[in-house]
């Protein structure tokens, strides 16, 4: 293997991983926030208690969380086709990545929101705040450090899951490591991808930690 080809391969893998993980993270952030807020609002003692809705939402989230990613990947192939019009390729891989990350992040969001001081919520009620203000200005705002730390966790998990995207031709660094490093015993590629993945995760974690620290005024 010529060095230039190796660099080209790795660069492409890195781009694919960044694309898959980036788009899936963005969608999961939005979806997870929505579902997480809904879980807290409809939950016991929430602002809009609705036991059946909460139970149903919880069940859906748990199903999403209990399926191993590799199974989810193939199980939702019809859904993937309906959404992006194809079942193979990098873009197609974004669908199962997002589907698996939304419930993951939703539970983190739920936990972070539940940790907001109940006294502060009561104080907001006493000031005459409405639901929208309490969710936006109290719950989400006070939970920001936890939400960002949780999103960091989600992105790192997605980097891990994206390694399985190769199964549906998604490409990426993990796929590279499996095809070249594992199946063809090209150790240099294996080592290079591992180094890149570690560096990638390290970078994500560092950025996440910095933002979390800036938001936490403890």
């Amino acid at each position: 293997m010529i060095a230039d080809d190796l660099v080209e391969l790795l660069w492409q893998g890195l781009r694919e991983t960044a694309y898959m993980v980036g788009v899936a993270s963005l969608l999961a952030a939005v979806g997870g926030l929505l579902v997480g807020v809904a879980l807290v609002l409809t939950g016991p003692g929430g602002l809009l208690p609705a036991r059946p809705v909460n139970a149903l939402l919880g069940l859906v989230v748990n199903i999403g969380r209990s399926l191993p990613f590799i199974i989810l990947l193939v199980a939702i192939i019809p859904f993937t086709r309906a959404v992006v019009g194809t079942t193979i390729g990098t873009t197609a891989a974004i669908v199962p990545l997002t589907v698996s990350a939304i419930p993951f992040y939703a539970r983190i969001v739920e936990t972070a929101l539940r940790e907001v001081d109940r006294d502060v919520i009561a104080a907001a009620h006493a000031m005459g705040a409405n639901r929208r203000q309490i969710v936006g200005k109290v719950l989400l705002r006070e939970a920001r450090p936890g939400l960002v730390a949780g999103l960091t966790l989600t992105v790192v998990a997605l980097i891990g899951y994206s390694a399985m995207a190769g199964v549906i031709g998604g490409g990426g660094l993990g796929d590279l490591a499996l095809r070249y490093g594992y199946q063809r015993f090209e150790n240099d590629i294996m080592i290079a991808t591992v180094v890149l993945l570690v560096a990638f995760v390290q970078l994500v974690q560092m950025v996440g930690d910095v933002i979390t620290r800036r938001l936490a005024h403890r």
Partner: protein, 337 residues
């Protein structure tokens, strides 16, 4: 500006009528507030005291309907809150301030930001908000800490932010939920001083709950004592402690178990109002060697008051005329059990 006395004469600004609040806990229903009726006059500081679990916290939370009573009505400043819901209840809450034991500040906002939050909730436009925030922080003496986050503030400073925030809607009524219980004695005094000052300068009516007798002494014009969800006694502080058997008197001025003195009559005298020379008077008129066993007389917010334990030589028969004389002079005299 009218004098504080004018406010004290004011009409009732809080009326609680037959409040009852029940909880379901582990399948059992627990009555937290059991038929409480109270009136708080405009401009007074009214304290609700009682042990933890007496229902005072629930009672306070019923006043701005953070908890909705099962029965009874709450009227604040002429508006029956128990008849309101939704937007109209929220609007009424914006006109009632509340301060909390653990401050309940947003940790993600600065002192100024916390005060601004209350104004945002009310829909005050941004330009006016900045002006009002500065005004309110100045009112509580915290202008120089405007940009500090709660984590950087001391307990007393946090409570000052809490008070500034509570005053954002120019309320007539301030509800205080154990506002000084988490503070050290010195800070407590400064916060109580601030509340007294606001009460007098703004004519602010304060309804507070506390278990600290010091708060009653320094701040309260009137008091209600709660026990097991009921009010056992209520009224102006000096009037209340002059009542024989007053629980408040025993809490404010504890005299302890009476000493066993041979051939001596021990009596507890409650003193209110301007000092009288009854001890010297007794000694002169009845030729008694009156001994003061223990006791205190202090200047309270609601007037001068205290209790003294006296030892009069001789048995009950011999000292009866002296005791009768004290009673005739308008003093509350009790023989401790």
């Amino acid at each position: 500006m009218s004098s504080p006395e004018t406010y004290r004469q004011g009409p009732n600004v809080i009326e609680l009528d037959g409040l009852r609040r029940t909880y379901r806990a582990k399948g059992r229903s627990v009555v937290a507030v059991d038929g409480v009726s109270l009136s708080v006059r405009a401009g007074e500081v009214f304290g609700v005291v009682g042990r933890s679990g007496a229902g005072k916290s629930t009672l306070l939370r019923c006043v701005n309907l953070l908890e909705r009573p099962d029965e009874g009505s709450v009227t604040v400043d002429g508006v029956e809150l128990t008849a309101l819901g939704g937007a109209r209840l929220r609007a009424a809450r914006q006109r009632t301030g509340m301060v909390h034991q653990h401050f309940a500040l947003l940790s993600s906002r600065t002192a100024a930001g916390n005060v601004a939050f209350a104004l945002e909730v009310m829909g005050v436009p941004r330009a006016e908000r900045a002006r009002r925030v500065a005004e309110l922080l100045d009112l509580v003496g915290l202008t120089d800490r405007a940009d500090a986050y709660p984590a950087q503030l001391s307990g007393g400073q946090k409570q000052r932010v809490g008070i500034a925030r509570a005053l954002a809607g120019r309320p007539k009524v301030l509800l205080s939920d154990e506002a000084t219980s988490a503070l050290d004695p010195e800070t407590t005094r400064s916060i109580l001083g601030l509340l007294r000052d606001l009460n007098q300068r703004l004519g602010l009516t304060i309804l507070l709950i506390t278990h600290e007798m010091d708060v009653v002494k320094r701040l309260c014009d009137s008091v209600a004592v709660m026990r097991d969800g009921r009010v056992t006694e209520a009224g102006p502080v000096t009037e209340l402690i002059a009542r024989p058997g007053s629980e408040l008197a025993a809490e404010l001025f504890p005299l302890g178990p009476p000493p066993a003195l041979p051939d001596t009559t021990v009596v507890d005298v409650t003193v209110t109002g301007s000092g009288s020379s009854f001890v010297a008077d007794l000694a002169r008129r009845f030729d008694l060697d009156v001994q003061i066993v223990n006791g205190t007389v202090e200047q309270l917010a609601g007037g001068r008051a205290g209790r003294l334990r006296l030892a009069l030589p001789g048995d009950a028969d011999r000292t009866a005329p002296a005791v009768a004389h004290l009673r005739a002079a308008g003093l509350t005299v009790e023989v401790p059990a």
